[in-house]
Symmetry: C2
Subunit: 274 residues, 2 copies
DNA sequence: AAGTGGTCTAGACCACCAT
DNA sequence: TGGTGGTCTAGACCACTTA
């Protein structure tokens, strides 16, 4: 690890009998050491050699390899843990954060039954049933291309799902995935996914969704979607546009969800039952 | 500071010529020292002696007073900074985080013009004009009482606002505040507020809003609101229920917003322009 | 027993800000 | 100049996991 980012040293100095190496690169100045370490770690993670099941090298090993103290190494890891990129497990190691349902609920928006003060059952945690109703390889339209940063006409997978809560269909999904990224994705593999869609991205394609941009609005339900959701055409429904991003804010999925909010709410991550 | 939370020491020990004090309280065991420090800091902050303009005692002072190392004190402060409770300013001190527009945009949901790929003007940052259209002291109804954790019939301030973006009214607000907390609030003071409503809470009442629970849905616009928003009665609009919370998750504001999403979106905090 | 992360400490030096 | 937070290091000891 170069010491280019040290706040202090512009040249080699003696500090308490320890030689501090020279600044090597005039660029990258003023970037603290632990930020440089963080970048190195991000590179290591993005390379994809480590998944949710295989721990990174130990903190001591990494500190030695990057020629920084364990404290500095930990500072960098701390930030990645706060950003939900890594998770630490005492006694076991440090891992790339897995995409499970709990993470999805916490980190992204989701649909929840409307809370009914008269009915305690309505507060129970409930898991959605997802049903794939269409899977096709197609050409990206204008909006999809702009969102996914590909060219209009490039190959995309276009997938439609419906999502049910306690047997009631409440959400309709329309995803677009760049076929260049998700080569060899098949409807079978998609439908048999273990838990969430993002877990599939992670385990099968080495792509970890880190965050998402979402924009929501109220619209009148169109005929096709109204039929899926079981509402009258023209009824007010929510439409949510989501762009899921991975490292470096690279877009990997563009999704338009339509939600029947007659008995359910669209809820943010910070909510807990009041 | 008691050392009850140390992972290791169950009795006085000699460590490198330094005496580590005895564990004093059998309860509170297994809580790390820096968490105990964090609680102490929270108490200090909640007492309200320090505001956004008056720095807390320096880290060295606090560490000395609480009988912990600076490192441990900093660990506690780090967490409060990550939670947006405190902000550090190098050379000046550590402050209770002020409620300004930037924080509001970052931390809470807001309304934004729909992004139009043909029009770069639509991406400009724009500040809302807020207009108070009703201010009354009234009795809490069932829903308000449940949300604010007061009794139905207790006094509340009920306030209505409309919010315009570039001259277009896009949002209607209906707030309920517990009169017991916001004693002496007047319409004049409310309308003359310097920046955001939450800044007023903080400066005039010593109440810092830390986070909010929000639930969103699509509904058909009622007559009164439709007139304010300039849409047809029955048009699809978004309705957002927000409960704003302070320390200890105490509710301080219950708000129902109705949003005209014909040309604007409801956007989460993590979004940046794509 | 050995290896991992978690906590706590002590100290050096720096950049920023006010005076 | 002195005080504040910011960075970096070194080391001790602990709790948890696996073998």
């Amino acid at each position: 690890m170069s010491n280019a980012g040290r706040q202090c040293s512009n040249s080699a100095v003696q500090v308490k009998n320890k030689t501090v190496p020279l600044k090597t690169s005039p660029a990258n100045d003023s970037l603290p050491l632990y930020r440089q370490v963080k970048r190195e770690l991000q590179k290591i993670i993005e390379d994809g050699h480590y998944g949710p099941g295989k721990p990174l090298p130990s903190e001591a090993t990494l500190a030695l390899a990057l020629k920084v103290s364990v404290g500095t190494l930990r500072h960098a890891v701390d930030e990645l843990v706060h950003e939900h990129v890594l998770v630490r497990r005492q006694g076991k190691g440090t891992f790339v954060a897995p995409h499970n349902r709990a993470r999805f609920m916490f980190q992204f928006f989701h649909v929840e039954p409307r809370w009914d003060p008269e009915d305690d059952m309505s507060r129970e945690q409930v898991f959605p049933d997802i049903d794939c109703i269409a899977f096709a390889r197609d050409k990206a339209d204008e909006a999809e291309a702009r969102a996914l940063r590909i060219k209009p006409g490039d190959a995309v997978f276009r997938i439609e799902n419906k999502l049910a809560l306690r047997g009631r269909v409440v959400l309709h999904d329309r995803l677009a995935l760049s076929a260049a990224i998700f080569r060899h994705l098949t409807e079978k593999r998609f439908s048999e996914r273990p838990s969430t869609i993002y877990a599939l991205f992670q385990t099968d394609f080495g792509i970890t969704v880190l965050r998402a941009q979402e924009r929501a609005r109220a619209v009148a339900a169109g005929r096709a979607v109204a039929r899926v959701l079981g509402v009258a055409a023209g009824a007010p429904v929510m439409e949510v546009h989501r762009l899921a991003l991975t490292f470096g804010d690279r877009p990997v999925e563009y999704r338009i969800s339509t939600i029947n909010t007659q008995a359910h709410d669209y809820v943010s991550m910070l909510s807990k039952t009041p």
